[in-house]
């Protein structure tokens, strides 16, 4: 039976090796000395743009336009994974290796602090950009400690999608502006199959978005302007209670605890929800005949709040320059090119992604194609960023952990907020 022993030894060797792969995967953190990069934006020549998948193909078209005008400063698009975590991972690895493979980075709005604090991105000169023409809250997401590190590229904010037919049934002419108006509208509609409100409450980034929206809409803060957490407050409690009570009373359907964007959209399109907090992308999809049963039967409004209009959470992407990239002068020009009026208009028309330039929202031609633009602008002007903290990954996890516990009823809202405050204090104390 000697052959068997060898087989077994092999089996063990292979098994342990596989375990080691896991060990070695994390071993490539690498050492970091003092970085020898400068903030000077000099040098011209070919550069790259690293961002998520260019699903519409519009970005490549714009890059082709640039390349035609600048034959010596060509830009190459590097497509990163479609999900945000995958993009961040690639960019972090690239920065750890101090590689010059990526020059311009498309950063999710919540990564600015982490990338700036680690000196992975270069500080940008404020006077080179017409920041006044952009929606002010979007500029905030591009700053770290009042210094500009990126340029707002695309933005996003949650809207209240509501059923116009049900609103009429409730005898109302206008969508609700406060939570109590919303719940009383729901109580007037006697339809067993329709729940009142929905959002994204699965334990993932969307929960952080929905939680901070509820807290901000009740007048609270998650992390204040000085970077200190302050969630153990009556306002924050009112916000979290609104969601937790919704689950308890059945106004928010039980299954909403598993909702991400797409699950929520399907539920709304099935006709199962009166109100839904959702990103604007749903507008076009729910108005497409096919699976959607609510074509022409819905509209959008700004999110409601505790005592007045709510404060949506900002999404979107900013453009930054990697500290380790070459030809930064070209990179700076290219960022100006991608964020100019013509390019932002093209992008809105091709992809329906919301622009950061305020004037486009008042454009009659664009409003014709996207009737929700005025509502979106109003929402964006009220919008707040998610916590601007260096250890965002840990912070968002602590928020999700406790908000999820409160919504699924394993913790009281008081307990959840107290625990969240303790954890966030620990995570931000070094700042």
């Amino acid at each position: 039976m000697a052959p068997l022993t060898t087989t077994m030894r092999h089996a063990i060797a292979i098994g342990s090796m596989a375990a080691l792969v896991a060990a070695s995967a994390v071993a490539c953190g690498g050492d970091e000395g003092s970085s020898g990069t400068s903030d000077e934006l000099t040098g011209r020549g070919p550069i790259t743009l690293a961002q998520g998948k260019d699903t519409s193909g519009n970005l490549q078209k714009q890059i082709d336009d640039w390349n035609a005008q600048h034959p010596n400063e060509k830009v190459r698009l590097i497509e990163l994974p479609e999900d945000a975590d995958g993009q961040r991972q690639q960019m972090v690895q690239n920065a750890q290796a101090k590689s010059d493979a990526y020059t311009v980075l498309a950063l999710d709005v919540v990564w600015t602090a982490e990338f700036a604090a680690n000196r992975w991105i270069t500080r940008l000169p404020e006077n080179q950009f017409n920041l006044g023409s952009l929606l002010p809250p979007t500029v905030k997401t591009a700053q770290y400690r009042n210094r500009l590190y990126a340029v707002p590229f695309k933005t996003n904010a949650g809207l209240l999608f509501y059923r116009t037919d049900l609103l009429k049934q409730a005898g109302l002419d206008e969508p609700p502006k406060t939570w109590s108006e919303m719940t009383s509208a729901c109580d007037k509609v006697k339809d067993e199959g329709v729940a009142c409100y929905g959002g994204q409450f699965e334990k993932y980034e969307g929960l952080t978005v929905n939680f901070s929206e509820a807290v901000h809409s009740a007048g609270g803060v998650v992390v204040n302007d000085q970077g200190a957490p302050n969630v153990n407050t009556p306002q924050a409690k009112q916000g979290l209670d609104f969601l937790a009570q919704g689950f308890k009373s059945g106004r928010i359907p039980k299954s909403a605890i598993t909702f991400k964007e797409e699950e929520a959209r399907r539920e709304f399109e099935k006709g199962g929800l009166f109100f839904l907090r959702q990103w604007p992308y749903q507008w076009a999809l729910s108005n497409t005949k096919g699976d959607s049963k609510v074509v022409g039967k819905f509209d959008v409004a700004p999110l409601p709040g505790a005592n007045g209009p709510g404060a949506p959470t900002l999404g979107g992407y900013n453009l930054a320059i990697s500290s380790f990239g070459k030809n930064k002068a070209t990179a700076l020009d290219f960022i100006k090119f991608l964020t100019d009026e013509q390019r932002q208009r093209q992008n809105l028309l091709a992809t329906s992604e919301a622009p950061t330039l305020a004037s486009l929202y008042d454009d009659a031609e664009l409003q014709k194609k996207y009737p929700y633009l005025p509502v979106l602008k109003q929402s964006l002007l009220n919008a707040r960023p998610r916590p601007v903290v260096v250890r965002y990954g840990d912070v968002t996890k602590a928020i999700q952990e406790n908000a999820y516990a409160a919504l699924s009823g394993t913790k009281t809202t008081d307990q959840a907020l107290a625990d969240m405050q303790a954890k966030l204090t620990e995570l931000t104390k070094q700042q």
């Binding site: 039976m1 068997l4 022993t5 087989t7 077994m8 089996a11 063990i12 292979i14 098994g15 342990s16 090796m17 596989a18 375990a19 080691l20 792969v21 896991a22 060990a23 070695s24 995967a25 994390v26 071993a27 490539c28 953190g29 050492d31 970091e32 000395g33 003092s34 970085s35 975590d85 961040r88 991972q89 972090v92 700036a116 604090a117 680690n118 000196r119 770290y144 400690r145 699965e202 334990k203 993932y204 039980k254 299954s255 605890i257 598993t258 699950e263 399907r266 260096v390 250890r391 990954g393 840990d394 996890k397 999700q400 952990e401 999820y404 699924s408 394993t410 070094q430 700042q431």
Partner: protein, 340 residues
């Protein structure tokens, strides 16, 4: 052999096995073997040895997470001794670690046990001669051939609130929320995927059992159950144990299935690999390396114990008892035949 040895000494240049040189020949061939194997060793040292050492070293360091006046992260790694390990076992990481260790062990024990039984049944069925056997064998392999992340996605659709699973059982279970139901979902999906693997390995073992042993047993009057218990199982045991060992090692490293099916941050299904991944993605490479090292030692210990406890036993068993078992079975059969 004897003739060659007798004639060889006359020829110069060949290797005569004279007593004086006999000791030198194996040594020289040993050196040649070492020389020929050295590229393999070099590659192994590079792709296995270096990463282990680098991970071990990394696990003793901590990356700076403090900020300076200007708000920049204070760069540089700091030697922290065994702090990363202390954190895992007794410090701030302890609740997460013990929870993850329990989940990892729970998933390993339950999934491997279920998969072994189902895989065995699959193999027994596939071993029988019937029409369309080739098709069944090929189709059983399909779940195994699908990448785990893809099958996890498929199961997520099955288990979502308005999914197939709930339609079948006729009530709304929120499978992907925290709780026991999430564990069940993972076990079901994992079993679906890897039972065929066990089945196929065992089938290979079954095909090695000579048909005449079974025939002899049948002639001696053994029932189907007796034949399985006394003949099939002992003879297929070595292969079965290898299959189980492979599954054990695999299950202990479980990552992608719970990650995609249930979610990245759900405590109910968090395994050790997921914790290590999470630490690394939050830039705590030292702690991530420490978690991976602990997992590595855990896997190694279990594999060692498995081979020591069961492996050594089967070796002894197979060497001596193989003929005896058959005899005993035959005798038992005879006895049974006499008494009945």
């Amino acid at each position: 052999m004897a003739t060659t040895i007798a004639t060889a000494p006359e020829q110069p240049g060949s290797a005569p096995p004279s007593p004086a040189r006999r000791g030198g020949a194996p040594e020289r061939s040993g050196r040649l073997a070492a020389l020929l194997l050295s590229p393999t060793f070099a590659v192994l040292a590079l792709v296995v040895g270096y990463p282990i050492l680098a991970a071990l070293r990394e696990s003793l360091y901590r990356r700076g997470q403090g900020l300076d006046e200007e708000g920049f992260v204070v760069q540089g790694d700091r030697f922290s001794g065994l702090d990363n390990y202390l954190d895992i076992f007794t410090g701030s990481g302890a609740p997460v670690f013990w929870g993850a260790l329990w989940n990892t062990t729970f998933f390993t024990v339950t999934t491997v046990a279920i998969e072994t039984v189902i895989g065995m049944c699959m193999a027994l069925i596939m071993h029988r001669a019937f029409r369309g056997r080739a098709l069944v064998r090929a189709s059983v392999l399909v779940p195994w051939a699908i990448p785990t992340a893809v099958s996890a996605l498929m199961w997520r659709w099955t288990f979502q609130a308005d999914g197939v699973a709930n339609a079948l059982i006729g009530r709304e279970v929120l499978w992907t929320t925290e709780g026991l139901q999430a564990k069940f979902a993972v076990i079901i999906a994992d079993t679906w995927k890897t039972a065929p693997f066990v089945g196929l390995l065992v089938l290979a073992g079954l095909q090695l059992i000579p048909q005449d042993v079974h025939e002899a047993a049948r002639v001696d009057g053994c029932g189907a159950w007796q034949r399985f218990w006394r003949i099939t199982l002992p003879l297929v045991k070595p292969v079965l144990l290898v299959a189980v060992l492979f599954r054990l090692l695999d299950a202990l490293r479980m990552f992608d299935l719970p990650f995609v099916l249930i979610g990245a941050d759900k405590e109910s299904v968090r395994t050790l690999s997921m914790v290590a991944f999470d630490e690394a993605s939050n830039l705590r490479y030292g702690s991530a390396a420490a978690y991976s090292t602990v997992l590595f030692l855990y896997v190694a210990a279990i594999a060692f114990a498995f081979v020591k406890l069961l492996g050594a036993d089967i070796l002894g068993d197979m060497r001596e008892a193989k003929p005896k078992r058959g005899l005993r079975a035959r005798r038992a059969g005879k006895r049974k035949g006499v008494t009945s």
